[in-house]
Subunit: 214 residues, 2 copies
């Protein structure tokens, strides 16, 4: 099946999907949308995805899937190996819970359109935006680090194979870098990030490696 | 299995989980945390859930699951009937995509701790908080309504059985009510909300019906 990824190098949710596709060994075409220039709000893309958000994954028949985590669950169901979720329901709940800590408690608060809204509605300058971004990272990375103090944690967030929680974590840490947030206070997070960054599936998904990187 | 739901009547993510448990016909004990009084930050609850967020679902052996959507996926895997997701992967991707539009694009921006942060960091008064809340609802309900203009939509968001997207939608509409947001401009959303509200599994999960409602 031909897959086309509509995305942006710096988008954290795009990084997630690139890592998932790489882990599954699935090839895809790459179409970039410069978010700062509003290319994702152009009529052509809105016709494909009325949300006007990247990433979106276009299948060979033109069907377009949206929302990074919904797409990754679809990948998992249609191409089960290698698995991004463990086999047991409690393990799956743990991995999804870790993934959603990042995808529901950090990323939604810190993406470009939210920072722009803070600027538009409250006059938030760069320093105020960094303070906002940092606040939400710390509010969740602290309990995330604590949740990793578990016998279920291995080389990666859950055991010794990378999965959905790692995908979300890896993408978030790249986002953090842009705002100057070091990992010093979260030693397990730091260790796992380094382990992930040593895997080509992850490193090749990182923002600086993309064709539209600037 | 004995299930204990740690939650709060007005919490939208708690409403989701109550509706899911009701749909599955699973009984649960109800423990309330008054968020405005900070009861979810008390040491006893933090020991159970370091995130200090409701809802959390405690199993009979003391295991505590967190993050509403991770818990609902666990319910779906351990008690498959009635199904909250369709059987086909593309249908599942559509339903999860709709659910995540609400759970990743609206709710994280509009919950109590975010509104408090807007007040603390930017001095946002009640009117500014309502404007912020309304902005994010409209930014996603507009494309959500558009996504419902599909032959896949039936009595509910996907076909004629209620599922995960309906659960997220129902809880969000209850949240909207508190901020005075009417459904007039989203006619399909309004129709589906009425259909859901006629089902006891949903109506019994609504905030005003809970023992801690005030």
């Amino acid at each position: 099946m031909t897959l086309t990824l509509h995305n942006y190098f710096r988008s954290s949710t795009s990084t997630r999907l690139r890592a998932a596709l790489n882990l599954k060994g699935m090839e895809y075409g790459y179409v970039a949308y410069a978010l700062r220039e509003g290319e994702h709000r152009a009529p052509g893309f809105l016709a494909r995805n009325p949300q006007g958000l990247v990433p979106a994954l276009e299948l060979g028949d033109g069907t377009t899937l949206t929302q990074s985590l919904a797409i990754i669950e679809w990948l998992e169901e249609t191409q089960p190996e290698p698995a991004l979720l463990p086999a047991d329901p409690l393990g799956r709940a743990r991995v999804r819970g870790l993934a959603y800590m990042i995808s529901c408690e950090i990323h939604p608060l810190n993406n470009l359109r939210v920072l722009r809204r803070l600027s538009d509605q409250f006059g938030a300058d760069d320093a105020a935006q960094v303070a906002w971004f940092t606040h939400w990272v710390e509010a969740t990375f602290d309990p995330f680090e604590q949740a990793l103090q578990s016998p279920d944690t291995g080389v990666y967030c859950h055991g010794n194979a990378p999965g959905l929680a790692d995908i979300c974590l890896y993408a978030q840490v790249w986002n953090n870098k842009r705002f100057g947030i070091a990992l010093d206070r979260w030693s397990t997070v730091a260790r796992i990030f380094e382990a992930l960054d040593a895997l080509p599936a992850f490193a090749d998904a990182a923002p600086p490696r993309q064709p539209d990187a600037s």
